[in-house]
Amino acid sequence: MRREIVLEDRHTGNYVAATFLDRIDATYARHADDLWLTFLAAEMAKAQASGSPLRVPEHAHWRWERKVATVGHLLLYPTSAIEYDGDAQGLMLLKTDGEFARSPGQVGRPLVYVVFLASAPWNLPTVVARPRFRGVGTMLLRAAVDTSVDLGFKGRIGLHALRQSEAFYAGIGMTVWDQDPKKENLNYFEMTPEQAAAFLR
């Protein structure tokens, strides 16, 4: 399913009509991989030539085609994309069973787990000096909370954040828990129903 959303284009200062896609297939994901990797390679080459290498996104090695081809057809694993002018601006893969809350008062209650979430490299300040679209990650995360509400999980979501993204998740009001040795010692972040309600307002 596709629905129209609005993105802020920071290059022009205008708001533009974009599309939110519920469910993407492996072909779509491969196109995004190709586009993102090509862009990133060009930026890395430019940065190398200028003598100031860029901070490569920690998720640069993710291959969305593989992820979506493996589980994208299962209801348990919703996928989504934000698209502008035919190009994927951000992608997300969720898991909707088998993950439970750790927050006090919520322990053991089901939540939506954000398995993978990434913005296109041209939207990342670590890659380009002037990122293109603002709010792609926030919109995807909002969709994760919406999914949680829709499934009866009251907005609870959880995720393991890459180091470069920790400030983003803390900034939108998620609680950081401990490092998880089962997940490469990444910090675990969780959003309670109350935090979700505040985030959606």
Binding site: M1, L74, L75, L76, R109, G152, F153
Partner: protein, 70 residues
């Protein structure tokens, strides 16, 4: 969010009792419980279809029981 379609579901009293119990235990609506069950049933069926097996493991007895799915 995907558009929804509506259906009528007829359950026996015993089935409704189970659904109500799960709904209460999980703090989810009956619709949410059934939608979640469908998600699980799909993933289990998909894994069995490619030759995987579905086990419950008893940590204490160190015993594995295979679950047979329709």
């Amino acid at each position: 969010m995907s558009a929804k379609r509506t259906m009528t579901l007829n359950l026996t009293e015993a089935e409704m009792d189970v659904l109500e119990q799960l709904s209460s235990e999980k703090d989810m609506s009956k619709t949410a419980v059934l939608r979640q069950a469908l998600r699980l049933y799909q993933v289990i069926t998909a894994r069995l279809r490619v030759g995987e097996k579905f086990f419950f493991e008893d940590d204490i007895a160190k015993e594995k029981k295979e679950l047979v799915v329709l």
